[in-house]
Symmetry: C3
Subunit: 347 residues, 3 copies
């Protein structure tokens, strides 16, 4: 298995699937290069290495029998924590340790099944919580998507502002010779980094006009949280708040799955706005996915990436550094007071 970029030996939570994928189960999911067989045993979600210890058939090809997962080849059965409960041809008392399956810690919350990237060991901190998902006054929508890009490339793309004028030209910002300098404050908290844009008016494109017909000033914050969360947060006065939070799961070096939660409070009925937001989100995502796939194919073709980074790549180099520190450095220290830096970019 190829180790996906941005995966260290320190355990991390990644979303392996949604709760509904386990009914009935088993469900196969690759997390950080590791194939898993997920199933629900006695109400609790379990995640086993997708390889029967006996003859290495994929357990995800088996079937759930009561609280156990049965292999399709020789009928061996495993509990949610990997214990071999039955092996065809021998009595239960002759089952040895070699017969047990590898298992991974699981936390199920908000309809997502989070799995530790490390066999047996859970991360120190609990998984990320999508706060607005359960906040009164907010509506939410979930989408599961895949992009052919490394976790780092997908995260940078999600939080990058300048490309919106080109790749998504017309949707958010109009490109042209306006050359307006905007101030950006970058706040680094050790385990997360965020960029706040000042002096932004309501986006001039189609999406902007629809979401805030009255215009006005925007409070716009982009955020990356280790190991794998991106957030794009837009506020327009008190009434309008749109937040796109994405839990990214690295599958392999150039493939990332996105569990995206779009939460919003708007001065119009959610029922009416939801399909429109979904359409807009998917249109933007498809443009991003296309360029990410072409970028990845080119990086592969050239045998590696070779990037020129400029100041307008506001969060890109921070994301790269955080991911690297999480993979290779000592335990991440969370700062109470962020390190603040201000840059100016032309938009």
């Amino acid at each position: 298995m190829d180790k996906a970029k941005g995966i260290s030996s320190a355990p991390k939570w990644y979303v392996a699937c949604r709760s509904g994928d386990l009914n009935p189960g088993p469900f196969r999911s690759v997390v950080a290069g590791v194939p898993l067989a997920l199933f629900r045993a006695g109400g609790r979600a379990g995640a086993l290495l997708d390889r029967c210890p006996h003859r290495n058939a994929p357990l995800s090809g088996g079937s759930v029998r009561g609280d156990e997962l049965e292999c399709a080849y020789h009928g061996w059965r495993f509990t949610g924590d990997g214990r071999c409960a039955f092996a065809a041809g021998i009595n239960v008392d002759r089952i040895t340790r070699a017969c047990h399956a590898s298992s991974f810690p699981v936390v199920e919350q908000q309809g997502f099944v989070w799995v530790s990237s490390s066999e047996g060991n859970p991360p120190r901190h609990p998984p990320f919580v999508f706060e607005l998902m359960s906040k009164p006054g907010y509506a939410s929508d979930v989408a599961v998507l895949e992009a052919e890009g490394s976790l780092q490339a997908v995260a940078e793309n999600a939080l990058d502002v300048p490309h919106t004028m080109y790749l998504h030209g017309g949707l958010f910002r109009r490109k042209g010779g306006r050359n307006v300098e905007k101030e950006v404050e970058i706040r680094n908290y050790g385990d997360r980094v965020e960029a706040e844009y000042f002096g932004e008016e309501r986006p001039s494109g189609l999406a902007g006009r629809f979401l805030a017909p009255g215009g006005g000033m925007v409070r716009h914050v982009d955020r990356f949280i280790l190991p794998s969360i991106t957030e794009v947060d837009y506020r327009l006065g008190d009434k309008t708040h749109v937040n796109v939070s994405v839990a990214m799961t690295p599958i392999s070096e150039f493939l990332t799955r996105l569990y995206a939660v779009v939460s919003f409070r708007l001065p119009m009925p959610a029922l009416f706005i939801k399909p429109f937001l979904r359409l807009l989100f998917l249109k933007v995502f498809n443009q991003d996915a296309t360029i990410l796939a072409r970028q990845s194919a080119n990086i592969r073709l050239f045998g590696g990436e070779q990037f020129a980074t400029i100041e307008a790549d506001t969060l890109g180099s921070h994301i790269a550094r955080l991911l690297k520190e999480a993979d290779t450095g000592p335990e991440i220290r969370v700062l109470k007071e962020p390190i603040v830096r201000r840059v100016r970019i032309v938009l």
Copy 2:
């Protein structure tokens, strides 16, 4: 070319094709990782390395001219033993040794074309004979199949009993909590190993009820013979005898071709039973081929196999050992008296 597993430097006979495949020929067949061009020259089957010595075009893309195989590119012609008999542009007397093709020893018997795995050198012993194929009172049927598994995995699968309750559940044995211990005698003859099951009643599934409506005790022997034969042999009294002998040809590390001969004597007309047996055999084979392909894909994905072996894997570990000895050890010694071991498995 990838060397297929279980292939040593000591020459071995493998079936390359059936006799009918050479009419008209040439016929391409890969044996133990080696691409061959087979054709019939003057009534005798010949096997050449599938690469013209001149410009390396595949000879199997050429055509048979009289007793010679002509390359499609420059018209060079080769006899069954590889001699270059004609090279366009030069007189025959200027043909040098470099112009000759590599050839492999061939034995054609019982409609099968056996080829030595070693260029130029035949194995010490003649190829395997399917005895019941020519025995009076027996009918036979031949099937040529391919399975995505190593020769070792395919052989173990063919001779494994516990999986029949799960993978082929309902066809042979019913799974359940019966927990009946059976005695198995394992006899190791050095170049072959067999397992005899005692106390087996007629299989309880559909196939059993059809083949032996009256029930009764079975004499059941499973056998592996180096380098590549599996036999499953069922006798029910004097009248019923079903034998499935398979000559396996390793193509590559995870691909094996099977030349299967089903021979039988039954208390009902062969004409009537043949289509039923064929159907049953193919249904079982398809289930096996599916799990073998998934097992192989998983072993590749995980970068190698990691098996837990238990006593119920009656012949599996013996097959692995015999294949390893044949590949790496000294000349195999055939024992007159087998080494006998008795184990008990729960079926």
Copy 3:
């Protein structure tokens, strides 16, 4: 990127595309393993490495804006010589050297866009000129084709005579036991090698009868010119002259693009003969492309080529040697007087 065979560090001109491919452009072309984005900037053709220096998206996926090529991802813009003229988010005066794209020298002539195989450096000598293309009294036809073979294999195939009796049997020469020896003069000029065939009558096949219904003696010269030109030249008296010149572009180890120019003067109207010649040329090419693909597949399968070469391979070994010298040796010296050798081949 895989370095294609026959590519040295000394710069060489190869055709990257036809002039028409740049209207509107950009156009992607791989030359000697290097992906290029070609476009026309202010009337002049430019060739950039097909990788945006910013985030490595392929520039060939962008669009031409005035005299600049704009990347589809962040809108960076480049001139024909690779200078970054605009980078979204920063002022032009903050563009650094790292922001510029790699560019390759270009010469556009006779409707072909020739690109140097070396970034920044043009070869010492100008690109090859198809002389007959602009000669009064001649008509020409151009075809762009691809063959799955190395440049060396494609060149040898184009200039090889014996295979015409087999692969193209019936079109040019009839195979059979005629065993007529022909004299061939091989002239080596250092940067080119040619073979002249003496005593050849008009080809006996269909093509020969059509092109020269009156029969007669042929002047037939085959020629290879470094780094990548093949020429087949047939004259029959003063009136008939057919020349097939091919500029080959190595794409990868086993893929070569052919820019073929068929020029001719015949005792019948060009308008009438052109479709026939085109059909004949494509029929021959398809047979060649098929065997080249099978040869390449086989060489890959066997992990490398292993050729037996005989005297009838008139130009093959010379081509191999010239390509090797051009790749590894000192500067090629052009001889005023060729080294001449005469051989006899049986046709």
